[in-house]
Subunit: 344 residues, 2 copies
């Protein structure tokens, strides 16, 4: 059975402002190294699903930039959503398209804005998840938690079905700190990273049961036109939490959701003082700083006596924030939007 990838590339976050914008969201940026997160997502699975078997769900306003980032993916493999409707309608649309092309296909749903350090281990896990999919399970990859994170949903594992493949006991929403600590201690809970593996036919059947109107709308020739009328709902909530045969493959492959500039610093290659700086920079008594500037001008950055700062430079905006306050970038974006600024 051939595997197809469904890459979800419609995101429009504000956490990486000013590098990320409405017209240039996070997945289009080279936040770690020089490759965009989107391009890395597709390259990473090329041995499982080559570019002609990659479908990319994105927003209509991002279509051109998204195609440009993935020159090896055929033009007809991009699904342009006229409006964002969360993951369920996008996955239903792409899965219907894949089922039309190959009724026996296996599918991998992959977010396009995460980072994975150990790609071999990721592919090994994905292979196990595709095996689970071929057995008829809606299968997810669960990340082994390393901290009592309250910003993610969790998956509770049940009995082992096969080597490295477990029943899912339940999906749970973002927990409180106390609950998250219990999850971490139990060893039975995994982070839900939004990656799903299934037979196209299995998902079509589940959609038919849980989201029949959506399935009908996206299955016909007028999917794009119908899209705006669909409910905005996640595949987790609409299908995964309700379906019967759901499995999970625990994984430990250096996954990072890149939630803020702090994460970008964590993942970057640092100099001996923990700085991440452009080539021609000078640091004097400066430690733990990240300067992000992908501009063509190759400027010299001089940092003197400052530590643990994030400095982001774009053509029309500059951000300076301590790493530990990187989450507060959203406050800036809110203020700029309220002021009618053009640089958000």
């Amino acid at each position: 059975m051939a595997a197809f990838a469904i890459v979800l590339a419609g995101g429009a976050g504000t956490r990486f402002w000013p590098a990320s914008r409405a017209a240039q969201p996070k997945q289009l940026l080279p936040l770690v190294g020089s490759e965009s997160l989107l391009a890395a997502t597709v390259r990473r699975v090329a041995t499982l699903a080559p570019p002609d078997r990659v479908l990319v769900a994105t927003g209509a306003h991002l279509l051109e930039a998204t195609r440009a980032a993935l020159p090896d993916v055929p033009a007809e493999n991009f699904l342009a959503e006229p409006v964002p409707r969360n993951t369920a309608p996008a996955i239903a649309w792409a899965t219907s398209e894949i089922a039309r092309r190959d009724p026996s296909a296996l599918c991998m749903v992959l977010p396009s804005d995460h980072f994975i350090a150990n790609e071999d281990e990721f592919r090994a896990c994905a292979g196990r998840a595709l095996d689970g999919a071929s057995r008829g399970f809606l299968t997810t990859l669960g990340i082994r938690p390393t901290r009592p994170e309250t910003g993610f949903g969790y998956v509770e594992t049940g009995a082992e079905i096969a080597a490295g493949l477990f029943e899912v006991r339940r999906f749970v929403e973002k927990p409180t700190r106390d609950v998250a600590e219990g999850y971490l201690a139990s060893g039975k809970f995994l982070w839900n990273a939004g990656m799903f593996f299934y037979r196209a036919a299995t998902m079509i059947e589940a959609l038919g049961e849980h989201l029949p109107d959506v399935l009908r709308a996206v299955g016909g020739p007028n999917a794009r036109a119908a899209f705006a009328s669909l409910p905005s709902v996640s595949i987790d909530y609409a299908v995964m939490e309700k379906a019967k045969r759901v499995a999970v493959v625990p994984g430990d492959f250096g996954w990072n959701d890149l939630g803020s500039w702090e994460s970008a610093w964590e993942l970057a290659t640092k100099d001996g003082d923990g700085n991440v700086l452009p080539a021609a920079s000078v640091a004097v008594d400066a430690r733990g700083n990240l300067v992000w500037d992908r501009g063509a001008r190759k400027r010299t950055y001089a940092l003197v006596g400052v530590s643990d700062l994030v400095i982001v430079e774009t053509d029309d905006a500059v951000l300076v924030v301590p790493r530990e306050r990187a989450q507060d970038v959203r406050l800036v974006v809110e203020r700029l939007r309220a002021a009618g600024s053009k640089c958000v």
Copy 2:
């Protein structure tokens, strides 16, 4: 007697890097407000010495930029030094030129890279100093000290000659901290701000006594060609400290030598949080910061959770330093020079 101004505009400091460069020194920058320090220097004395009676001593490599900054000063009034030789040769050259044009002229020697807040009071003091000059004194303006500064030379006052005009007991070099505190407490010591007022004939006579070779070299038609062979010596050391009839006018007119970016912040108009930011900026929990960017791009600066920083942006270089470490910019310039960087 007509007054001429001799504006010393050959400086080439590194304290305002990256805004200041070899080809664009401090006096050519609008460090306070939108007017360059050089233009402000000339404008400030226009009622005493209009632009056609302003001579500007600058470096040959700065001639074009210096002329452009002073469009009202006639082209023949710029004296281009082929090499820097400190203040005495420059002052001797300009004074000889003025004496040639008007043997009875009064002269004011003015550094071009200082800031003066109270211009009316400055002109009143300059008027008193010109009066001292007309009485035959080599007259300086002395700034009433506000702190035990160890970075300046001092002038000790003696008996009062006329209202607001005092004999100079002695000039003293930069003192130690203890000595500076004694100076401040005594009330008799003033900062030497490098401003001198004299009859052209008085200075010519003093130069003839103390620097005869220099006077001879700059007094002839080949002054420029002879310049490189002259000693590099200050007018303070060569003449003022040795001359007999020397006077001082104490002044208190908001003088600031703009010694670092910290001074630029001190003098700038601040918002309610002590920030000095471009118009479209956003500050969240950010206080006491200076952003200096005179670029045409009018970028939006977002400062979140950072305080007392100096951020300077130019086309090819960026500086980030705490205000209190602004003096350490020289370390950056040294490193860049050692590395053969083009942006110093």
